[in-house]
């Protein structure tokens, strides 16, 4: 990395995240002055224009790519129109030990005096909680599911290649044409469409103004610069910001700056989940890279430095903190912007290129918390790119995660997308599949599968509160066969998914009418053509997802019930429930037997895995293909982010031997420590569920650095991944564990039973090793662990997206 990059990187790592009231103040003053004057879309667009016109412009020393969402790096704005932080929220954010955000006294005062009085009761969050049913609220409070849109706007959006071909001037022309083409006599929605399209045009103007203000500041700084080199750089920045986003980019620098302006605009306009992502950056940049090298205006070194400056920009933008109960939890600064590397071209050819490798080098060298990166691995992806990615993976940052592009395409074809759109799509956030630039693929909330089982074991009553949350199903002792019991689980599932979905439909319509996103609509096909907002079904594709959590735990519970109660008849289900309600107090031997001697998902054991498939297929039947309010359909995803910790904390003891309050399994990974037959068995188990029917299924694997240290280990890891993907596996990511984890495993072996370590010429489960051998391996691992400078691991085992 160059000295400049090192300075930019250091400055980004050293900057402390803080809350800035800037956006809240501007938004509030605009709403107070203009309430009722405009249609909703135009109001949103004009308030966005007000932000772009008045927010502080930052242009830091050494910077090449410019623009910050806040007045300075890591100053995070708030979105009171979506969720209005309370004074207590702000105080917790300021003082909590992990992932804190500095909140000044002035900010608290501004919130007390101006922001809260206006937005309390007007924010989307407040209105959503007013609008949903009692059943929904009860289930939500009990930890049956979460709701994404009570904290942030619909998001998970990724850009395609359109900005590399068109400037704002072009988009505005398209908008004008759409307005001119409105059928005022035949289309009852003509007025709504015109308002929406006008809002889009205003949003384009806002972004143009935002860029011009950067150009002006760059020129001002250039005039004051003493160093002629910096002066030249600033003049170049001014030139870049004058040309983009007005016109299509002319060179590599302009392409990156253009994307960055779009990124800032999207995450300033609203606070969409998972921020925003550039998608296939390597593919999009390639023409500019090659042209620059050919005509001598770019060198590989200069391109790399620009990309590094671009990466620093992502790292400067921590996730806006949540409000309410979740503020006390240690969240993450990661906002899940995710760059795709490799993949396919729309015509089906391999999409990887020299920039794919360059990006991997930068990930390796910079190891920043943000942006996330993922390798899109298709059958056509060269082995060299996979190996390169695995060399980065083995350093233990958890990046890049690896996706099966062929499965990702097939998933989208199943949803009815065109082949070209599917190939140009990919993954964002954690593991979510979408058609980049053409889809609103909305995550609606995590769903606690184990809690559904808990209700089934208690006739629909929540054991701790005594409230009837689920259906009134039969008492535990009345089930005569396992199939009867499973049928009751199915009935609870059906009822609770309906409760969740009714809430989803409500919230979806509220966002469509109350909180449009005009600029995001400009960048998403076919919002302009349809004259419809991104949040109202304007996108070409509109899938809504529910994220199911705990399939591993659920499977192990079902397997334990079947074996213990129905096969072995070792005890009645009623007695088992009593032991669970007592959190296994006085039945420790039973608990250990349940943990160690019942079939477990993750071991390629059909006894257990068939139950995983049965539960999974039930989810598909309940959810997949049901219509949402935007002309799209509901789909299933299997991913937890960190909700398996929260869900576990509100779920009692379970038949798999898990005590009350402990985490559930995450993604489609086995219960922590339950997989005992090595990685091939985990992959086999995981692939028994049909990932093609989902929009993403997350699998985490743990390895020690030594297992991957030599070329042999690396090659075989590549083979493992290819074989998993042959079985239609959607995604895998690797935690390369360090000595610290091994020490934890020594202290709590039951939670780390799946940890494989390289011993000597062979590998073994760490917890099965003699203590002194464990100590030896710890010392060895400590030695072999690579130092991670500055950035915390984004994907430690406890905090896995």
């Amino acid at each position: 990395m160059t000295q400049r990059t090192a300075r930019l990187r250091r400055a980004s790592l050293d900057a402390a995240p803080s809350i800035t009231p800037e956006r809240a103040v501007l938004m509030t003053e605009f709403y107070q002055a203009n309430d009722g004057r405009y249609s909703v879309p135009v109001m949103r667009a004009r308030s966005f224009l007000h932000l772009c016109e008045n927010k502080a412009i930052y242009l830091g020393e050494d910077e090449l790519i410019v623009g910050e969402r806040g007045p300075r790096p890591k100053a995070v704005p708030t979105y009171p129109e979506l969720t209005c932080h309370s004074i207590e929220d702000l105080q917790i954010l300021n003082s909590r030990p992990k992932t804190s955000y500095a909140v000044s006294d002035e900010c608290v005062r501004i919130y007390r005096d101006r922001i809260i009085p206006y937005w309390r009761g007007r924010s989307m969050r407040d209105r959503i909680f007013e609008a949903v049913s009692d059943e929904w609220r009860q289930a939500y409070d009990a930890g049956l599911f979460t709701e994404f849109m009570e904290q942030r706007a619909p998001g998970h959006t990724v850009l395609d290649d359109k900005i590399y071909r068109k400037g704002m001037v072009d988009f505005k022309r398209e908008i004008a044409e759409a307005i001119a083409g409105l059928d005022w006599l035949g289309d009852p929605d003509a007025w709504a469409k015109r308002e929406q399209l006008q809002a889009m045009a205003i949003a384009c103007d806002a972004v143009l103004l935002f860029a011009r203000r950067h150009a002006a500041l760059a020129l001002k700084q250039a005039a004051e610069a003493r160093d002629p080199r910096r002066r030249a750089e600033l003049e170049k920045i001014a030139d870049v910001c004058t040309h983009v986003p007005a016109g299509a980019p002319r060179d590599f620098h302009e392409a990156l700056q253009y994307y960055w302006f779009c990124h800032l605009a999207i995450i300033t306009e609203l606070n969409g989940w998972d921020s925003f992502s550039p998608g296939h950056l390597d593919q999009h940049l390639l023409p500019f890279y090659r042209k620059g090298l050919a005509d001598g205006t770019l060198t590989p070194e200069a391109a790399r430095e620009l990309l590094e400056a671009f990466f620093v920009k992502f790292n400067n933008h921590p996730a806006p903190p949540k409000v309410g109960v979740t503020a006390a939890e240690s969240g993450t600064y990661t906002d899940f912007a995710n760059i795709n590397i490799g993949g396919l071209l729309a015509d089906g050819a391999d999409g990887s290129n020299e920039i794919s490798h360059l990006l991997l080098d930068i990930v390796d060298e910079m190891h920043l918390l943000q942006p996330s990166t993922n390798l899109q691995l298709s059958r056509k992806t060269p082995e060299a790119l996979l190996t390169h990615a695995l060399r980065v993976v083995r350093k233990g940052y958890g990046f890049p995660s690896i996706f099966n592009t062929d499965a990702v395409v097939e998933e989208q074809l199943r949803q009815g997308k065109s082949l070209e759109d599917a190939r140009a799509g990919g993954c964002s956030g954690c593991v979510e599949t979408g058609a980049f630039g053409k889809e609103a693929y909305i995550l609606t909330g995590y769903f606690n599968l184990v809690k559904v089982l808990e209700l089934t074991l208690h006739g629909g009553v929540a054991p701790r509160t005594g409230k009837q949350l689920g259906m009134r199903t039969a008492a535990a002792d009345s089930f005569r066969t396992f199939d009867d019991f499973f049928a009751a689980f199915r009935a609870q599932l059906h009822y609770l998914i309906d409760v969740k979905m009714r809430g989803n439909q409500t919230i979806e319509q509220m966002y469509a009418r109350l909180m449009p996103a005009p600029f995001l609509s400009v960048l998403t096909d076919d919002c302009i053509r349809k004259g419809k907002d991104y949040n109202a079904g304007g996108a070409r594709y509109n899938n809504s997802y529910i994220q199911f959590v705990g399939i591993g735990s659920l499977t192990d519970c079902l397997a334990a019930v079947r074996q213990t109660v129905f096969d072995d008849k070792a005890m009645s289900l009623g007695d088992l429930v009593k032991a669970l309600d007592a959190n296994f107090e006085g039945s420790e031997i039973l608990r250990r037997r349940l943990v160690n001697r019942t079939p477990k998902y993750g071991n390629d054991d059909d006894d257990a895995d068939a139950l995983a498939v049965r539960a999974f297929e039930a989810l598909i039947e309940e959810v997949d293909g049901r219509p949402n309010t935007k002309g799209g359909r509901y789909r299933v995803e299997m991913l937890p982010t960190t909700s398996h910790i929260y869900f576990g904390s509100v779920t009692g003891a379970m038949p798999d031997g898990r005590k009350a309050g402990l985490p559930l399994s995450e993604g489609i990974s086995p219960v922590q420590g339950a997989d005992r037959r090595g990685p091939t068995a985990v992959f086999k188990s995981a692939a028994k569920m049909d990932h093609i029917k989902t929009g993403g299924a997350l699998l985490n694997m743990k390895f020690t650095p030594a297992l991957l240290a030599d070329e042999n280990g690396l090659e075989n890891l590549a083979h493992l991944i290819r074989a998993y993907f042959k079985m239609d596996g959607h995604h895998v990511q690797f935690n390369v564990v360090r000595a610290e984890t091994l020490r934890k495993a020594q202290a709590e072996p039951e939670a780390h039973r799946d940890l494989i370590v390289r011993v000597a010429g062979y590998s073994d489960y760490f917890c099965d090793l003699a203590r002194d051998l464990q100590d030896e391996i710890i010392s060895r691992t400590e030695h072999a662990s690579l130092q991670l400078e500055g950035a915390p691991s984004a994907r430690s085992s406890g905090d896995t997206p």
Partner: protein, 330 residues
Amino acid sequence: MAPHKDGYHRVNMGIEARKSSGAISDPPGAGAGQSGLVFDIQRYSIHDGPGIRTTVFMKGCPLDCWWCHNPESQSAEPEIVVSEGRCVRCGECLKVCPNGRVSGSAGAEGPPCTLCGACVAACPTGARKLAGERMTVGTCVAEVLKDRIFYEDSGGGVTFSGGEPLLQPRFLKRLLEACRGAGLHTAVDTCGFAPWDDLLAVAPLTTLFLYDLKGADSRSHMDHTGVSSALILDNLRALGAVHNNLWLRVPILPGLNDDDAQLEAMASLAASIAGVRQVNLLPYHQTGMHKFRQLGRAYRLEGLVPPSPERMEEVAARFRAFGLKVRVGG
């Protein structure tokens, strides 16, 4: 290469384990090799031949190498093994033992364990296990075939190891036939101490032999492995003449087999055998020490320091000087 279930130790040490002569056969009751004693089956085995493999560890070994890192695999009988790390001293095993003797300690008094397995079934933690399960060819191969998709991409397959797989020659032959029939790459990891006819019988079914060469000095070999090297060396020469894919696995044991004369002799021997494709030099490590101690047996290489990576490179260079393909490690 030996089984990996470290941390377990056997409790019925009274059973005579080792064979001290060349009298090798399938265990009694094995029929015509339809079933055999399998100690463990390890999937994702990446150090026992090329690619991703499943290694079937067969129980029993005619040798008694001082450095053995799995001394519990030496006995050719099933045995109950206990993982101290998993045992929570709940006493469930004691309640069910017909002899009332189960204690988890190697030298317990009382009538010998009959391997009835009641304690294994009763154990709530899985700390007690029966090591040396009698498996049929069908069961064993079904387990091996579970990972076929991983073999295909990686050029992997199945490895039969031990113990010493040729201690159960008919069982091994049937396993190899079934695996080859299924189109798998097959490897046999052997110490070479077996009747020539048994080796010859499995050779056409074996894609790759992993053949141990533990020293060139016959006296030292006898001292440190308990058997003469003559049969092993004769077999190696004979096998190298009829089979074209052998990897020699040479443990490097400082002071025992790494003097100039022995290294020279082993390298020269390896180079003289047409079928030898590769030599794997395996640096001595102390893993076995912990296990010998757990078994209440004396570790006879106390204080022996593993060779440094630099030393291993030196040794590798000597082998390479003979034109051999050499790899340090499995």
